[in-house]
């Protein structure tokens, strides 16, 4: 079963339209949503959670329309927003007590375990937490009510590299149970590259691609060549390019690469940057 399906999802604001988006996240998988600031990642997450009204399309979680399954359906969804928003006067222990009154499946022992694992003090007030500690508390809450789907908006922002690595490991562990899934948006593409099975690129409100990560490596490559060599390539084959002091770096489908030219491996960040540049006019 698919954990999440977006069908022709659309949201219109003055001067910005998100979608129509079509996207599928199968159970057991992790999908990374990549996009520049203002691309629509947070809006997409808010639409999935029915926090804002959609102007068209449908959102299905585990086969059910989100509007019909919420609010009970949110028992199955663990969320970390880009800004973790607990009241500043609360302590982590109090957040746990509040959440026990919110979630039917609240697992107090799991929450306490995560507090210890993340080295979060139970009695310290939220306002005294560092940005990283706040994120960790948000993650601890999201993981402590037996959710089947995690929706994470920039969950590793503000974490140091060691903490990021630990958190990425926890998310990866989460999907060992094949009935669970993770949707994660982040600017830290290296985290997504490590973690995700699927990658979706959002650029100016449009989905540029949504593909299995390994397929992206197989399908796309970067050609590094001199300007004169680049001029001989069919412009229609170039998906994006960057000029450097040494020549040109061009993103191509491997099948479109001219014979005899060596197309190198492209990492996800480079793929996104070049595609976004290509989308703005080659």
């Amino acid at each position: 079963m698919n954990a999440l399906e977006l069908k022709q999802l659309e949201k219109r604001y003055d001067g910005f339209t998100l979608g129509p988006l079509d996207l599928t996240l199968p159970s057991g998988a992790i999908l990374g949503l990549i996009g520049e600031n203002g691309a629509g990642k947070t809006t997409t997450i808010k639409l999935i959670l029915d926090m804002i009204r959609r102007d068209g399309g449908a959102v299905r979680l585990f086969g059910k329309d989100n509007r019909e399954s919420f609010p009970l359906g949110k028992e199955d969804v663990g969320v970390v927003l880009d800004e973790v928003s607990f009241s500043e006067c609360l302590t982590a222990a109090e957040v746990g007590k509040i959440m026990r009154g919110v979630f039917r499946n609240w697992d107090a022992a799991a929450f306490e375990g995560y507090l210890r694992r993340f080295d979060l003090p139970e009695k310290k007030r939220f306002k005294e937490f560092s940005l990283g500690m706040k994120k960790k508390l948000g993650i601890a809450v999201a993981l402590s009510h037996r959710a089947k789907l995690l929706i994470l908006d920039e969950p590793t922002g503000g974490l140091d590299p060691v903490a990021r690595d630990e958190v990425v490991g926890i998310f990866s562990e989460f999907t060992r149970d094949a009935s669970r899934a993770v949707l994660i948006s982040s600017h830290i593409v290296s985290d997504l590259e490590k973690l995700c099975d699927y990658i979706a690129f959002l650029h100016k409100g449009k989905l540029m691609l949504c593909e299995e990560k390994d397929r992206l490596y197989e399908e796309y490559g970067v050609l590094r060549c001199a300007r004169e060599d680049f001029a001989a390539i069919d412009p229609a084959a170039v998906l994006g390019k960057r000029e450097t002091p040494y020549g040109v770096e061009a993103l191509l489908r491997r099948e479109d690469a001219p014979r005899g030219m060596d197309v190198g491996r492209v990492d996800i960040e480079e793929l996104f940057v070049l595609m976004a540049r290509g989308g703005e006019g080659k």
Binding site: L49, D50, M51, I52, R53, F70, P71, L72, G73, K74, E75, V77, V79, L81, E83, V84, S85, F86, S87, E88, C89, L90, E94, K97, I98, M99, R100, G101, V102, F103, R104, I151
Partner: protein, 198 residues
Amino acid sequence: MKGLLLKDWYLILRYQRAFLIVVVAFSIGSATAGKAVSAFFAFYPCLMTGLMVPSLIAYDEKEKWNVYAQTLPLTRTQYVTGKYLMGLCIAAAMTVLCALIMLVDRAGLSGLSIRFVACLVMQALLLPFQLWLGAEKGRLLYGVVAGVFAVLAVGGWMSVDLGGDMPAVGGIPLALAAIVLYIASWRLSVALYQKREL
């Protein structure tokens, strides 16, 4: 819902201790001051308690809890209902406090129900604006209402003999009318809050 109420209770204990002290002090003062107590003195605790839930909403907005709450298995109706329940509990607690003080002081229960009514009506008027337009505009409206009230009180136009005009038993229909108004306000707030984009 239980979690929402618990969260608000923690906020009251942390952020609104000063409110609680002022309410207790003024309640003791007004309940033991005899019949011809100044209306401002008597109703100030009502104004303060009437401000507590709107302040909670302001904190929610400032700390973006109202946005985060939408990610939880809670409806907007539950969020609004939680605030109104808390407002009702606060009004009831203040009334019980005044009643206890009056009984200890053997002052009789005159004017008790009007305090309850004032607290409920204040919230019934403010909360729909707050939940619909946000804390800032709601606070502005509160300032206007409180300002008018203070001017009237300072000018002496509102000095009333609470004992003579408002017997405890006769005030019950008034209290019931306030509860009906409060329920109508709750329904309006639920409808308005559904439409608000956070």
